[in-house]
Amino acid sequence: MDISLLIISSIYGLFWGAILGFAAVGLTLLWGVMKVVNLAQGEMIILGSYVAVIIFAMVYNPFAGAIVALLLGLFAGFLVYWALLHKLVGKVEKITLKIEMSTLLAMFSLSIALMNFYYFIFGDEPRGFGLWNIGISNIKLGAMTVRTNVLLADVLSIVSIVVVYLFLERTILGKSIRAVMQDAQAASLVGIDPVKIKMLTAVLGIGLTTFSGFMVLLYESAVTPDIAHKYAPLSFVIVVLGGLGSVIGALIGGLIIGLVYGLSKGIVTFYNAKMSDPVALAVVFVILIVILLVKPEGLFGRKR
């Protein structure tokens, strides 16, 4: 087995992992604060990607697309909270299994509607930044060649995660969100309005998710509805790994998943190149099940 090939494969995996981690941040916030598992996570991610593509087509500037994706996501979060979530979790102090099931189904219905909306508007056809991609060169890192877009997406992802982390740790609003995450009842006793915090979490969580769609687009070069089906399940794995509500956990979870994927892929490629991608993904999902069974609070989460 060629060790250097393995190392390169692992590093590529890590490059992907940071982006995966950021794509899971919105999910971990919603799940942590109000026990809402956003089954429309994948659709929210590519909402950002599609918006970026459209805006790019209009003004020929990819970063304008990124900003509009973020703003639209914040607004979408506001809508999702008031249209779907408020009735189910807004005023509830203890979220029971039954409520949890209802929120799952509600987000599920959103995912059906959004997914088919994309098919209706865009079809299967890949959409991307077209010529702009070619204009951007590759960068040589030792023996590796990395696309500048990927590096850009990684830098943006990590910076965004750090900003969100600092927001949660340092600001009053962020601390309130963490308080509700830990104990909604106690938080309301000290004067925090849980409804306001839940709404803000939905706004922030979904906004960050659509924003991550821009990074995903940079990494994947083009977006199709199928991308949602790839990133959503991986986000679940990452959140479970990193622990519900943990932003840094999401980053580390993403890096671990990227590393495991890259490593498995490298190893399997050595035996059978065709099998490498599916086997590596299967390994990732086996990890999900094992973690759920052994340490459901996540590798870095607190015990619930």
Partner: protein, 330 residues
């Protein structure tokens, strides 16, 4: 006291079965239409055993559909005796081969279930999604290796000499559907069903009251997987082959949505739910092509937010004269 009315449910069920049979004999519609209806009804009734009765929502239940499909198609592709068997006995043979596929699905459910059924709520749902993708990617990796010249990307297409005529498949589908309805009905009326409902309501209290919760959950999950596997097998046979899309989350969505529309925890719920869903699907497709599934999503959202008990659940609240619908829609 309302014993004579309790048979209304049974009456409706028998009427639906007879209607399918009459439509078949008088050629009122195509065999494919009837099989599609039975397919929807079948997957809804299968998931109902674990989701409707025991309250465990399996979001990755399509894993058993896909596994059943692959096992069946690969068996008749590679094993000549099974290819012969599936043509024998006017559908009985195909039914027997689909039982093997169902058993494979049940075996996976029992093994994995013993572990993942310890998880509750969203964690269980996510674990089943994980299981779905694990098996999906494993199939994608392994299946092409079985016959590299033919099975591109994991797609297996049955050659002409291994395809079965539609009359035969219809018979197998029909028997499977009737058995599945009977199993649902029996569970609803049995101590097993009482135990499952108790688990759905409060699992800890059920255990202390003597319900062997772990055993019951694994049994229900395996039964649900068994029938889903069988239906996946017959569905694939009818389609002349199988590919990875059978593992798609959209199939899990179908099952869950039908149960939610019809009403959880009843026998009539998934049956009526599947009929409505089929009609809705068709109607929306005809009148609003393209946006049909978007509308469907909105309908599901409205159901979840405002009518979480589903159609049968709502009807159960009301009375007609002296007769409580709850008593007759059991």
């Amino acid at each position: 006291m309302l014993k004579e009315f309790r048979s209304v449910t049974l009456g409706i069920i028998i009427a639906i079965i007879v209607a399918i049979l009459v439509a078949r004999v008088l050629h009122l519609t195509t065999l494919d239409t009837l099989m599609t209806i039975m397919y929807f009804m079948g997957i809804a009734l299968s998931l109902n055993i674990i989701m409707g009765f025991a309250g465990y929502v399996s979001f990755g239940h399509a894993v058993f559909l896909g596994l059943g499909g692959y096992v069946y198609i690969l068996l008749v592709y590679f094993l000549e005796p099974l290819n012969q068997l599936q043509r024998a006995g006017f559908g009985i043979g195909a039914l027997l081969v689909s039982v093997i596929a169902g058993l494979a699905a049940a075996a996976l459910a029992a093994t994995v279930g013993a572990a993942v059924l310890r998880l509750r709520g969203a964690f269980f749902a996510i674990a089943t999604i994980g299981l779905d993708f694990t098996i999906l990617y494993l199939m994608k990796a392994i299946v092409p290796e079985l016959n590299p010249d033919q099975f591109f990307g994991g797609q297996v297409i049955l050659p002409a000499d291994r395809i079965v005529d539609k009359e035969t498949i219809f018979n197998a589908f029909f028997i499977a559907t009737v058995v599945l309805i009977a199993v649902n009905y029996y569970i609803r009326k049995s101590p097993f069903g009482m135990g499952l409902t108790a688990i759905k309501e409060d699992e800890d209290a059920a255990e202390v009251l003597g319900v062997p919760t772990t055993l019951f959950k694994i049994l229900a999950f395996s039964l649900a997987a068994f029938f889903t596997g069988m239906i996946g097998a017959l569905f694939s046979l009818n389609g002349g082959g199988v590919d990875e899309t059978l593992f798609g989350l959209n199939h899990s969505i179908d099952m869950i949505v039908m149960i939610v529309i019809g009403g959880l925890g009843t026998v009539l719920g998934p049956i009526i739910g599947s009929l409505i869903y089929y009609e809705l699907y068709d109607l929306l497709l005809v009148h609003y092509p393209g946006v049909n599934l978007i509308i469907l999503g909105v309908i599901v959202a409205i159901m979840v937010l405002f009518f979480p008990e589903g159609l049968i659940g709502i009807l159960r609240r009301y009375k007609i004269g002296n007769v409580r619908l709850r008593d007759i829609l059991e």
